[in-house]
Symmetry: C2
Subunit: 360 residues, 2 copies
């Protein structure tokens, strides 16, 4: 701890290095940042004495302060980190972001968001060149805080913010296809397994009141899409039970489905807002001795990797999970972040979890 290499006590700045080599600070700096600005010979000598001296290279903080660039982008989830990392769609987004970051040699800073205070502090203190906001709800207090930093921002699957570019998917069309598919198969008794409507978690069938105040944009749009398909068939979304399950958890979806199937008019078709929910519904069905799709049809959403391998394979709405990340990172890392929005396509993938309504 106190005995170190040879000629090194506290020598750790560019100045010390320059002095040791007998050149100016600029030259030493250039040895690291502008290799073409000095002879290879000199550069080699500088780098070698740096090593001998134990000089760790230009101090990143000082360099950032000076250049105003950090070389990393910040990622803010609507959920806490461990929670987000439990969710396949967040992971896929991360993968997309990571792909671009690798290419651009940029770091990806995951910001802690335990509570509003923590998030605020993280946003203020983050050494980043821009922010990606993922799944932030309407009215989230961190959005204005991010805006205050006056850095480039791209939102993904979030509330839309005036003047901020955004990446999202066509939730409405996807949901509409899903519902239309079930309706065409003759299903008339439907139920919806819904992602969070509001910031405050809730498990249970949603009241009219709560339906009218949705904080999460994708949830709102999907509900709207389901409703549009129903309207075309003369059905009314308001008569269809919407069961809210907190946090994309299979377990909640299983219990929800159990409750729905135990009701007076059990559904024959389930519109799940995520593949996790769909799998939860499967579990409930199998628990009751019901077969999918013979007794119950289920349409998922997302098309996570598991969806295709599950048995029965999920009929689901595919969304380009990874591409969302790629698009967001590329948009953010552009020289001049364009103030546009991109809506990526969704499309129904028919597999094995849907079939004709019983009795048809």
């Amino acid at each position: 701890m106190h005995a170190d290499e040879k000629p090194c006590e506290r020598a750790r700045t560019l100045d010390d290095l320059a002095k040791a080599v007998g050149v100016s600070r600029t030259t030493a700096s250039n040895a690291f940042n502008r290799p073409e600005q000095l002879s290879a010979e000199l550069r080699g000598r500088i780098l070698r004495t740096a090593e001998a001296l134990g000089y760790p290279g230009p101090n990143p903080m000082a360099r950032m302060l000076r250049t105003g660039r950090t070389g990393s982008i910040g990622l803010l989830f609507g959920d806490t980190l461990p929670y987000a990392l439990d969710d396949d769609t967040s992971i896929a987004l991360l993968k997309g972001l990571a792909r671009v970051c690798e290419k651009r040699r940029s770091g990806l800073l995951l910001l802690p968001v335990m509570d509003d205070a923590a998030a605020a502090q993280a946003v203020r203190a983050a050494a980043v060149d821009g922010f990606i906001l993922y799944c932030l709800p309407d009215g989230s207090p961190v959005v204005p805080q991010v805006l205050e930093r006056r850095l480039p921002v791209v939102t993904v699957d979030s509330v839309s913010v005036e003047g901020v570019p955004s990446i999202s998917i066509d939730d409405l069309a996807g949901a509409q296809q899903a519902a239309a598919h079930l309706l065409e198969l003759g299903h008339r008794r439907l139920a919806i397994l819904s992602l969070d409507l509001q910031t405050e978690e809730h498990f249970g069938v949603v009241t009219r009141q709560r339906r009218s105040e949705i904080h999460y944009r994708p949830t709102a749009l999907r509900l709207e899409g389901y409703g549009a398909a129903m309207r075309e068939k003369g059905l009314d979304l308001r008569r269809v039970p919407v069961f809210e399950c907190p946090g994309n958890s299979e377990e909640h979806a299983r219990r929800a489905t159990l409750e729905l199937l135990a009701g007076r008019t059990p559904p024959t078709g389930i519109l799940a807002m995520s593949d996790r929910f769909a799998i939860g519904a499967f579990q409930a069905a199998s628990q009751l001795g019901l077969q999918v799709p013979r007794d119950l049809s289920v349409v998922g959403f997302d098309d996570i990797p598991l969806a295709a391998r599950f048995r029965p394979a999920l009929t689901t709405v595919r969304q380009p999970l990874v591409e969302k990340g790629v698009a967001a990172a590329e948009m953010l890392l552009k020289k001049r972040t364009p103030a546009i929005s991109r809506v990526l396509e969704t499309r129904l993938i028919q597999r094995e979890s849907t079939g004709p309504a019983p009795g048809r």
Copy 2:
């Protein structure tokens, strides 16, 4: 873009804020960092004018330079980011790290490592308080570069570095249990589906030569563990085919198993160094019309979440994936990172993928 809030043109430093309020820089700074150092009234006034001015709070880079602390930790994978994010074990580690980071309000910086040059640059430029090194191979050039930064470091599942604390699991004991289990079931014709031995990717049965030079510590230890169990039964690891599959990919494992089963003396038991590999082996078996475990027994490693739900459920070696991350982050974030090593336990979980050797 050029028309902003009311009284704000280029006013963005603590100085400007102080001037606007009519106090000194110190006081303005304290308003943000030491709330108890000034009257609530004054603090309120400062914060309010900060907002009105569009002052985004103390510049993070300047603050870091001054304090020497960044509030985040850097994570360096042995693989590229998108690749690591495809791997359940890396995700689990991330989850563990994230849990601690949330609690300590620390950021988690994912460093790009596309190639050695990129990794070197990322390590030098990272504004972090310490590094976590995950799955770094023996002889990796980034290790010395990290050490040069003279910041706290914790390695996880990596080559052991003199004086650097490390977290790992008891790979040897776990592998030994796995092999002993198969041997007790009467299996004598075994084969190993191995993780990478060396940095250079390789797909195929490994030569004696290659076996003697293993860059990845967990791989080496697991092989050793398999060997120890065999020795107890009078078998010789050197006679058992070790099929190296790059990058924990199911697909490689499937093809490897196909090749192994097509050989002269097809194995009846497969020791897979990961659950992904085990699943790949299942696919190969089912492709050949073989049943697991009737015709082929497979032991995995990791006990990823999928392992228990898969059919047949995997017999596998459980390792505390998330806890590794928790332990690593806690060790790193301690006031004085202790220079100790922790080896977490592994344990065989018997499920459905193993059974008596055929003909017993």
